[in-house]
Symmetry: C2
Subunit: 471 residues, 2 copies
Amino acid sequence: MPELMIPLDSSLTKPLYEQIYDYIRMNIADGKISHGEKLPSTRFLSAHLQVSRSTVAVAYDQLLSEGYIESAPCRGYYASDISGLYLGEEAASAALPPPIPAERYRIVFSPDENEFSCFPYAAWRKISRDILSQDDASLLTAGETAGEWELREAICRYLYRARGVSCRPGQIVIGAGNEYLLLLLAQVLGPGKRVAMENPTYLKAYRTLSNMGYRMLTFPAGKNGIEAEQLQQTDAEIVYTMPSHQFPMGTVMPLKQRLKLLQWAAAKTGRYIIEDDHDSEFRYKGKPIPSLQGSDTHGTVIYIGTFSKSISPAIRVSYMVLPKPQIAAYQKSCGFYASTVPKEQQRVLAAFLNDGYFERYLNKMRRIYKAKHDSFLALLKKEAWVKHIYGDYAGVHLLVELGAAMDAREVVRQAKKQGIRIYALEEYLAPGAKANRPDVGKTLLLGYGALQEAQMKEGIACIRRIVTGTA
Amino acid sequence: MPELMIPLDSSLTKPLYEQIYDYIRMNIADGKISHGEKLPSTRFLSAHLQVSRSTVAVAYDQLLSEGYIESAPCRGYYASDISGLYLGEEAASAALPPPIPAERYRIVFSPDENEFSCFPYAAWRKISRDILSQDDASLLTAGETAGEWELREAICRYLYRARGVSCRPGQIVIGAGNEYLLLLLAQVLGPGKRVAMENPTYLKAYRTLSNMGYRMLTFPAGKNGIEAEQLQQTDAEIVYTMPSHQFPMGTVMPLKQRLKLLQWAAAKTGRYIIEDDHDSEFRYKGKPIPSLQGSDTHGTVIYIGTFSKSISPAIRVSYMVLPKPQIAAYQKSCGFYASTVPKEQQRVLAAFLNDGYFERYLNKMRRIYKAKHDSFLALLKKEAWVKHIYGDYAGVHLLVELGAAMDAREVVRQAKKQGIRIYALEEYLAPGAKANRPDVGKTLLLGYGALQEAQMKEGIACIRRIVTGTA
């Protein structure tokens, strides 16, 4: 029988029974009390420790209920065999492991990774500290379901100024990421809709809407994005499009085509346009392209934007602007969902916007990404294996059509072996759908947002060696 | 023509064109340049300000694209009528306004509101500051899709210790709230399932699953929660239950019934039990009740827990423990979703758990809520109009059956008029479903978690006056 010299301290806030429970539990977990070892009776231990017998009994009950000890009728308590029970730390064969760290590749030409070196960390921290140090209770009380009003106001102002989006804060819903907002939107619009998307496309949106039971119709992404004439020939009710900068094709929808799209939507009740305006902040040439939403007079456009590109995917804040006629449907089907973004985070972001940090940071990043874009484009233009470059002058990736006979997927595969991750445009094709453009299979997608010039050069040299067979 | 003495400063990081743009925009927004007023030509303004003509042109282009100015061919630029455009601040008739503040009621007997006065704000702030001050980039890079590994490990340890949940961190998915996790789970389990729930119940779960197209079957909540025998008589595939503390009935499912439920699930492929363990931390009598998940040997239990009750709904963190056989389905249908909880928040919470603050706080709150429970119960027991009290010794609300002939809803209505919010048990009935217990309509639900004794007394006195007709 173990000695159980339990150091009890009645001045602690931790109750005595819990001190006993903790001591025994730890000793069993550590193997100091081993499997099958008999524990002292409650009577003996209570006398030994000078505590009431019920205190010991409560501790034993808890140990029993958690499986640390077992009782044998008329014989007392024994330490259990816990070797099979606790599977925390040693979970080597864990089921949902952390993703393979990016360091597996020396260089990643990701279209999703941002450059963070110029982020105003000091300002962000200062705002966070200020918000944290504000009155206690308001940090913990439940926030507003559609998002904190101050953040919705700040986003409303920003969207009007920067994107020509015309809305009131009351039309804005804040959510933890675009996909979450699409999950809500599908509940607002109702089940079983038919959705048209360009292809290749932003696959997470495709998968989300498909998961929600929507029937997906894809259209080969043309020079200008999806056309109303194409939609007319289908029974599509909803079109998901990125008119300001289609991902991944980088196309911009011309004004005339936009107006036709709006007319298509207005022509029949129940038609909607989901405008995904994911990275329109980063445009390096020409006039800014105002949102489709700003031209919508029939309440058919649902505008979705995000801070994932403009700040970081880690902060998990996106927003959706609902047309006024959809507000009631939102309230009815989704009004009960609490906001998915912590209140504290929303307040920090609102201050970041209201104090001008966000737009200053955007302006800085636009210059930085433009410089990266210019370097990368210049480097690629010198390469003999490059047949055609498109998707330039916006966003943080380029599309590069190979002149060689080699398939893009094969180049991706060989580059991986050399520790360099590049992407094939085909990776962005909707499942089951084939792009009817033969060049898709020959096209690489190369993101440069997080890369320095030396990395661009090294990556390009690697691709050159692969496509020219000198690897 | 306005003077446009624009104070340009080329030492600023803000480019000159933007300084011009900002100045004109502000002056138009403020009404200093009024509707229809002609603006100087780009040639004139560039000479006047000693900047290149293209700098002015870029500023004008932006103002044009955003609708602040208009151009008339061969005549120049004019300030637009923006009165109808910007609808931010003055949005009096806003569509999704902030919720009616709780102060409308003097006293709210809410089952969802927590007591925050003992929260270790100082520790939370210190951890937050520490996390914030850690290396810059890791704060902004994308996190792990199922949640930060360190938080999943911490939750795994906590669940094993406190709830007897047997799992590995790799089975845990972190999400922004229970409803979000249910949205994911419905995608994992697939469309069109039939779900059994007790009634009355946690309506947000009912609505979420119903929104996902699931067919909902409800069973009058009996003395012990849903029974396997009831399920046998239906085609239910999934049962959503709260065996440790049913909301709102406060019942605990007996061990034998739990085992039968597990047998029901194991008897046929595709049957699952969703165990919602929302507030089992707060139990004031008897042995802790281990989770159903801990007894599941067939991988049929999906365990869902939350920090909304134990810390606060404002932090928006829940977790779901998937049975191992469902991991692959999760990866396939939901693996692409980025986590909805900001990385920073997850790291703060992990440290809060790992440093022992969470369990100490829980212990403290258990004592505080127990004291509130005891006072409230004692106060209610003195009341002649109280026929029966149930749901006691756990959670932060009680159910009170009225002895009077008056319906609970009528008492709620009259109390509202006096600034006191109490709840009728009927408010928690699933839509369309009728509870077959006659006492449901006579029962009040009274939450006490956020109330002080004086408020309890005042509220009880108000109810007494209403039910005895002395109001």
